[in-house]
């Protein structure tokens, strides 16, 4: 039974695309059949972060419009053979993404894959609501910072009203992924605490990803951080998050500034 995830946030630049690639690669390296879908039409980036930018022939809009078969547009990862990418269009108008067209593609993806992970564009407009529409569960990517938390709150409201699940009166599963967490700023008291963000948004925690050079390095090299630097602190946070998505109950650790050492156990049940 396929599971459709949307990676969303409201605010831009918080780590949605990075997280989509890293979680997709983590799930795929555990042998799951995974597709990551770029919904950021016009500003596609997932292909770059995955290192597949030169292999894009057809995109989501081509498939939606029937100009290409799904199989023609899917790009299989060179490093991990169960990982696939469905790229977004760089040039076409996003109005070409019709609701019925997207529904058809999502149905087809559900049949082919174990995990369908949709990378949402920023904002709360049509692109973002289309990306979340078919989701079974949502990953809300949030930075410990006021505007990001506020936008996440808006997105949570949309997830509870504008999705197929919400319209059917069902509950949308929501997971908080706290990214770009800076232990030094946290220690200084100049960054919202994990507990504060959890209390304000009141959704369960999927993981805490530290701010890290390894993420920048990975995206420079065009490889998800979980493939490129699997031993790094951010990669381990993503691997743990992926295992939680698969139902494992692991305690969430707060990354500490001590190198290669994980900080104190976070005494809260994980998502």
């Amino acid at each position: 039974m396929a599971k459709v995830l949307v990676v969303t946030s409201g605010k831009g630049g918080v780590g949605k695309t990075t997280s989509t690639a890293a979680l997709g690669a983590a799930l795929a390296s555990q042998g799951k059949n995974v597709v990551v879908v770029d919904f950021d039409v016009g500003l596609r980036n997932l292909d770059l972060v995955m290192g597949a930018e030169r292999r894009v022939v057809y995109d989501l809009i081509n498939v939606v419009q029937g100009d290409a078969k799904l199989a023609q547009a899917l790009i299989r990862d060179k490093r991990c053979e169960t990982l696939h990418l469905l790229p977004a269009s760089q040039t076409r108008d996003k109005d070409n993404l019709t609701q019925e067209g997207v529904a058809k593609v999502m149905d087809e993806l559900r049949e082919k894959f174990d995990w369908v992970i949709c990378d949402s564009p920023a904002g709360i407009e049509r692109g973002a609501t289309l990306a979340m529409r078919h989701a079974d569960a949502a990953i809300i990517v949030t930075n410990p910072e006021v505007s990001s938390v506020r936008d996440s709150d808006r997105i949570i409201g949309l997830l509870d009203s504008k999705t197929l699940k919400a319209e059917a009166g069902e509950r949308m599963d929501k997971h908080l992924l706290l990214t770009r967490y800076d232990p030094i700023r946290a220690e200084r008291g100049d960054m919202l605490k994990v507990d504060d963000v959890l209390e304000i948004l009141s959704i369960p925690l999927l993981g805490i990803v530290p701010e890290s050079q390894d993420v920048l390095r990975a995206s420079n090299l065009g490889s998800p951080v979980t493939l490129c630097e699997p031993q790094s602190a951010p990669a381990r946070a993503y691997f743990d998050a992926a295992r939680r998505l698969e139902g494992a109950e692991l305690p969430v650790v707060i990354p500490s500034e001590r190198k290669g050492f994980l900080g104190k156990l976070f005494g809260r049940r994980a998502a």
């Binding site: 006021v146 506020r150 009203s161 008291g189 304000i200």
Partner: protein, 89 residues
């Protein structure tokens, strides 16, 4: 408490937390409101319709938000009806 924190200014995270809590409580209410009015309207309509026939357009629900209190205005126009039903209304 270390030397650094003794000389540094007050930490800003608690302020951020306070501001967010106040702001989001307000925003949730405002955004939730448009839905709330629609839901109230439907449910009020259903309750009235159980006792008297009523036209949909004759039920108006309005929400006025103020600083201290908000006012919910419900305006229902009932058709001509026999004495007994009027008492219910």
């Amino acid at each position: 408490m270390n030397l650094f924190s003794m000389f540094s200014r007050r930490s800003s995270a608690p302020v951020a937390r306070e501001r967010l809590q106040v702001l989001l409580a307000h925003e949730r209410a405002v955004i939730g409101n448009s839905d709330l009015v629609a839901v109230l309207r439907e449910e009020i309509l259903a309750v009235i319709a159980k006792h008297v026939p009523v036209e949909r357009e004759k039920v108006r629900v309005k929400m006025d938000r103020g600083d201290q209190v908000s006012l919910l205005e419900v305006d229902i126009e009932l058709p001509e009806m026999p004495q007994k039903a009027q008492k219910v209304a």
